[in-house]
Symmetry: C2
């Protein structure tokens, strides 16, 4: 049996992988369909068959990123019952996933390069948000019945997302990924703790 390479097998996935690799390396600025095709080892016209244009590809990458984020956060809080512990687990997972998937997050955060109205993208984003909101609901039940869950969840989302953005900035100084990862990771616990206390105060 000869291995055929004419048909790729799963080119969409390969293109998403090439995309996050390129973007993690060089940022979103100079990104192009031709580059990603080269990276994936296919002709430059191939990506159009699956994603239409660059916005389609990046939207798919963003949706994938939110999906991974939701999965990892869900896995992190399963079987965790204390309000503080649930929030810490979810927050830590958020930051970890972001630091481990810089290509995905660069696309997720830059809103002008994706189709914001894409159904899959919205669905995965909402799924991730719901997990955080679920942790906040635990805080309301266990500690602070008067908590406005919507506002509190937005607060939590803002805090962890802001921490990720700042972690990128810290990288400027550190210039060593390992160090940055450690530094940001060390910041997560105290910062999520501030966050938790903010929600628990009544």
């Amino acid at each position: 049996m000869t291995v055929s390479t004419y048909h790729h097998g799963d080119l969409p996935s390969a293109l998403r992988a090439a995309t996050v690799e390129l973007i993690a390396e060089k940022g979103t600025s100079g990104f192009s369909l031709r580059q990603v095709a080269r990276q994936a080892g296919v002709s430059h016209a191939a990506p159009a068959h699956h994603f239409g244009d660059v916005e389609g590809l990046l939207t798919s990458v963003a949706a994938e990123g939110y999906g991974v984020l939701a999965d990892e956060m869900a896995a992190a809080i399963v079987d965790v019952e204390g309000a503080r512990e649930r929030l810490l687990a979810a927050g830590t997972a958020y930051v970890r996933v972001a630091l481990q998937n810089p290509g995905h997050f660069a696309v997720m955060l830059q809103q002008d390069i994706v189709n914001r109205n894409d159904a899959e993208l919205s669905a995965q984003g909402v799924r991730a948000y719901q997990i955080l909101a679920d942790c906040v609901e635990t805080v309301r039940q266990q500690l602070n019945p008067e908590l406005d869950v919507d506002k509190a969840a937005t607060f939590c989302w803002a805090t962890v997302q802001g921490l990720v953005t700042l972690a990128d900035k810290l990288q400027t100084v550190a210039d060593d990924t390992e160090t940055t990862y450690t530094e940001a990771t060390e910041l997560v616990a105290p910062i999520v703790n501030f966050m938790f206390e903010g929600l628990a105060a009544r």
Copy 2:
């Protein structure tokens, strides 16, 4: 006296203004020196005389943004003495400046398009950070002597910055700038309040 237009007068400022206008409108993706030159009404080779390349121009825009941010935050907390009030004033100013200067903030947040080592950029960034840290120090003095000011300031920065990022996302749904502005503004007070309680808890 004839008004000469050959020499612009202050082309660097005009180019920065054209830059934030273009980026607020279309995002950073397709931005080019030729576009900004057209917007400013000069020939396409003129910007190079002042900024060298696109990175130089955007770095200057980012530094200007941090400068405005620092100025506005400083103005907002002058003569305010209570810890809670100072934090609220600074946080509100941060979000207001960000929403009023979307072009500047888009550049400030996308780290891969500016020269991170630029002296002016670093200086203005540090200046803005210091003001927030100063508010946190007030909290430490008035309410919680054991507060780790560095970590707490990072927490605050992350929270307000995250809120700005999320405000952009809310805009997706609203699609009406005025509404978004109001919504995000209404969120600031409760969220800064959570933040404050987090710092005050001991």
